[in-house]
Amino acid sequence: MADVNRIITLIIKNLDGELPTSEQEELQQWIAESEENRAIAEEFASDSTFFAGIREMYGVEARVWDRIQDEIQQRIEKNKNTYPTKISWIRWVAAATIFGVIATGAIFYIQSKKQSTTSTPVALSRDIPAPAINRATITLGNGQTIFLDSAANGEMAQQGSVQIAKLDDGQIAYNAATKNNSPQRKETFFNTLTNPRGSKTITIKLSDGSRVWLNAASSLRYPASFDGAERTVELTGEGYFEVVHNEKMPFVVSVNGTTIRDIGTAFNVNAYTEEPEMKTTLISGAIEVKNNNQTKKLHPGEQAQIKSNGPIVLSAAVDTAQVMAWKNELFYFNRTDIQTAMRQIARWYDVDIFYQKNVSGFFSGKLGRKENASELLRILEMTGEVHFQIEGKKIIVMP
């Protein structure tokens, strides 16, 4: 392994393309040592990757620093026994260049400092805040409904030998009883966790230890305890699964005729019926997606797309950060059309969207989901492509 300082000097000198032959050889030798070395050298030798690196550098600088400041601020606030909900906007980076091409439509850049802009403010009668609480419910086997937000922490209910508890962080846990007192007769209680529109993400730990994050406007039906050959749950809307693998009893997510079979795994399923296609994205491990007798095995980073019960289309190397943005409390648009963006906004803020005339436009960028609707809309308006009006729980989209 060559001396690191020496290599850095050579790479920097090579940026001007005038490295003497003897040093060229030295650098080439180092490049030949590994694929990683080659990748590093090429990054700095190519205009486009190098310039993207500079943009990335400043994007990271701002975002990470903001988060550090927010966290420090929150700790100070916590000491005063207040719990602020403020989170700063993830700063927008020069999205177009990071993502490659400047595409058709509007790509917008948001100033890191909220400086005055030329855009007109969102017309609103009353602002719509981001969901501050979780409004999810659990429907038990006997039809009884538990409202999770008003339920006290600790044990909430019992289903057979399984105890349902609400943890301090709001997470729901199904705790299976110890084996020795399990009764002879087994009764299966099906429970449904429902997370309505305009509600924060809810996390549940099933009795087998698998965890599921449920987005707004989504539901999960599952047995309080699993038995039989498979662990089957039913999803509507969007959920992220971290499955505890059990070869003898595979985990199966069933969505409207499509099944996703886990082979030891974390994956995200977006199956909102109002979306044009169902998307299953594998984050790690392996899964099989089955629909109409067609089965596809996914590798990490791949996405299976099914359009109105048609064939399964595999898409390699999707942006998993974008797929997982909702779980990380972000809106993440990457050349996302206005209609798709507005559907996400409708589910999150529990609003109805109306379009005045034909509105089109594409948006890129990330922003926090904790801001009021008007703040998000104000930023979208800065593209100059769209304008909004808020009327009660309606958002009107205008060209």
Binding site: K13, E56, I68, I76, A96, H245
Partner: protein, 193 residues
């Protein structure tokens, strides 16, 4: 009021910010190479600096801070990888992967991050207004008109600032005899647009 951590002075905050600006990019690239996910790398970078902040008054030596940051980031990377592997339940397989790669990756990441560290330092040395215009134009991708409107200056001033920033950078880079030509040519190409 009792605070959970130490009381901080303005001087400490400034020092912390300087430490952050000096090391964030190498920590980030180090983590990114390891976890291969920009978002996770940002999380890890955030976590590392927050941990540094928690015990900031205990540090007096910049070198120790740097080692501390890399150690925290490295541990976070390992924890992240373990978390992902945990589901695969093949601990043995994973530990092999880790041992084989850790040393090399550490060194490699040092390279990418440290080259960016040099570039960052040169840009940050520009005079205030030139730097502002430079970043708005080349990092945020704003047009001359947008910059002029936001800074309350005319288009010609924007062009002058851009030209001067590039000239200053070129001189400082040439003077240091590092990456002079190619980069500046690329920036100049952008100036036209």
């Amino acid at each position: 009021m009792k605070t959970s951590s130490h009381d901080t002075s303005p001087l400490e905050r400034d020092t912390f910010e300087t430490v952050y600006r000096t090391h964030y990019i190498s920590i980030y690239h180090f983590a990114k190479k390891f976890v291969r996910d920009a978002q996770v790398a940002e999380d890890i970078t955030t976590e590392a600096f927050l941990k540094l902040w928690e015990r900031f008054s205990k540090f007096s030596n910049p070198q120790t801070m740097k080692s501390f940051l890399f150690t925290v980031a490295h541990n976070a990377c390992i924890n992240h990888a373990r978390g992902e592997q945990r589901l695969a339940a093949r601990e043995a397989e994973f530990s092999h992967l880790y041992v084989a790669d850790a040393g090399d990756r550490l060194a490699e990441e040092e390279i990418r991050g440290r080259v960016y560290q040099h570039i960052y330092a040169e840009i940050e040395k520009l005079p205030a207004q030139e730097k502002r215009v430079f970043k708005m134009a080349y990092v945020e991708g704003l047009s001359n008109e947008e910059i002029a409107a936001q800074l309350g200056i005319n288009n010609q001033s924007v062009r002058n600032h851009k030209a001067r920033a590039l000239k200053t950078l070129r001189l400082s880079l040439l003077g240091k005899n590092i990456f002079a030509f190619l980069v500046v040519v690329f920036w100049l190409k952008h100036l036209k647009s």
